[in-house]
Amino acid sequence: MNQRSKNFLKVAVISVLLSLLAGAVVILILGKNPLSAYYNLLQGCGLAPKAKYGGSQSQLTDLSSYIDYWTPMIFAALSCAFAMKAGLFNIGISGQMLTAGFIATITVGYAENLPGPVAKILVVLIGAAAGMGVGALIGFLKYKFNINEVVSSIMLNYIAKYIISFFIQMYFIDPVSRQSRNITDAARLTFHQVDVGGYKYDLPIGFILALIATFVVKFVMDKTVYGYDIKAVGLNRTAAKYAGIRVGRGIVSSMAISGLLAGIAGVTYYLGYFSSIQPKVLISTGFDAIAVCLLGNSEPVGILVASFLIEIISKGSAYMSSQAGLESEIASVVTGLILLASACNAYFLGRMQRRQDRKHPALLSAAVATSADSGGSAQVKNSPEAGKGKKV
């Protein structure tokens, strides 16, 4: 691990701790005990034992359900990271998840007589293709018509949300639950409520896929020519163009792959953790994925750790709300604060770098080289003295 990654880790840990502290202050103001509230979060995810469990439930039941919940987030955050590496910002992950989930639901989810393995493979493939289509469209609009990808993906988010809500309400509604009808068990990517030794577990296939995807993305990013091209496009589009890299292809393909990952996230969510789609709702996973991605420094392994953490806050909030009598929204506030702290990490990294430069002038030449590629966030200083008095 080099100095920059170490610094990043330090900043990330501090920003998480500060956000938790700020959340604790809010909980104190509301007159509750923050420590027990945070302990409730762990209990809700099966990472700490609850006081008592219902019939055929155990701590492992909660843990398996947590892993089921965690899986879509890994894909969603990888999706965000892939776009981020190419200098693009995919804020349409939720919309891509919904589109993929809906198309897979109506094609495979409602098909009778499909054998389980075939149905499950089809669900993943169709979800991936649907997400990829939406992602490629956003990339194409960016490259061909110069439309900011943030604006176009948000527009597509809303369009997907309302069109899909229209179709669900017209054709696929379950009159009791007011959601889309449940999919067949064969198509569901999670073995739901499997009985093992008297206890029931949710066993997600998607989780294994997510671990594989994490290492595939890492390999593509770090070890292939394509990954190098993408990163070059992300760092400096003009320089990449003059180096002979096809920028347009990079933009469209990275957005397509980002959409593909979001699509798989969608099927693991709507056809795995859940088995139906609620109309008119765009889930927050796609937005929380941005927090996870920033916190994990857009690195696949970092994302694995960061998503584990963020999902504890998100999943455990329901149990915390029931136990401590706190609004479950406090969880999204803490996530928002982590996001806020992560957004300024470039600044703190720059400061840290400069302080280290002052301490170890010998390392300076290396530091200048690393800070020069960090995109203007860290200042290049000629001598250790120059950095001292000057404020920008």
């Binding site: 509301l30 910002f89 804020i91 609009l141 018509f145 110069n146 439309i147 900011n148 943030v150 604006v151 176009s152 948000i154 527009m155 597509l156 988010n157 809303y158 369009i159 309302y162 069109i163 809500s165 229209f166 309400q169 017209m170 008119k280 937005f287 941005i290 927090a291 920033l294 609004e327 929204e329 406090i330 999204s332 506030v333 996530t335 928002g336 604060l337 996001l339 806020l340 992560s342 957004a343 300024c344 470039a346 600044y347 720059g350 203007g376 966030s377 200042q379 920008v392």
Partner: protein, 323 residues
Amino acid sequence: MLNAINSVIIDGMSFTLPLFIMAIGGIYSERSGITNLALEGLQGMGAFVGALVAYILGQQLGGDSRVPFYMAMLFAMLGGCVYSMLHAFLCIRLKANQVISGVVVNILAMALTSFLTKAINRTAFGAPSDKFDLGVSDRFTVPGISKIPILGAFFTKVYPFEVIIIIAAVIAWYFLYRTRFGLRLRACGDNPAAVDAAGGDVAKTRFIAVMVSGALSGLAGMCFAYSISAKFSSDIYMGYGYLAIAGYIFGNWEILPSLFACLIFGFARSAGSEIVLAAGLPTAYSDLIMILPYALTLVLLIFFSKHNAAPHALGEIYDKAKR
């Protein structure tokens, strides 16, 4: 038929004008060089503060008073303005990525306002609820002119906030295009180094520009709360902030062309819902109508984005050392 056209105009204007004032806020920020995707969060935070003030005042003063309405407008602007300083601080002082900062500010606004709404309702008002009910604002009709066919509809059933918005828009236009401050602000977005060399303070000008965008967005959010939603709840985050962004991109970062873009969105929306109503279609079809402004935005952007000229220094962190 005439009735239908009238109600398209009436509903269209009451949606267009808040969108327009928010777009003006965005223009201020972006012409000064700060990308502002935070409009959505700013309008929500503004509406939250305004609605809270109106709710408290409404309980004190009773239902008939007009004071809560105007105080809500004022405090919504204040709330949006103060909250926008977070975006300004991140972008200008901490040199954060402006796109990320904008999105973060939005997400935090959604989380904070829905948490605070619930927490305040439970602890302060003793009633678990996730909204502040405001009711729809009163409307007025100008006597005389409103009798003119079609044109008269612009003066029929007008929300008081529409007048406030028009006044604010005229002032904003004057300041941006006719004053020394406005010139400096626009220069900050195109050539900040020149402003610096001429003795201007780039950081300060940009900070003020972002605060103006916060105040105007807050006003817009409050208007939505008093018309479309009739309450404050997380429903306020309907993506209108992004629609306003599309509006000024389509309007090429100029105030008057942006008004036309907003008019198109507003009338597309009201005409759509009028058609669903007139054809007697089931309510699920209203979901399809909701798509119209968003789909129209995408299509229009396809045609106009290529020829657009964004401010030259938009999104760039101004660094004196690089001059």
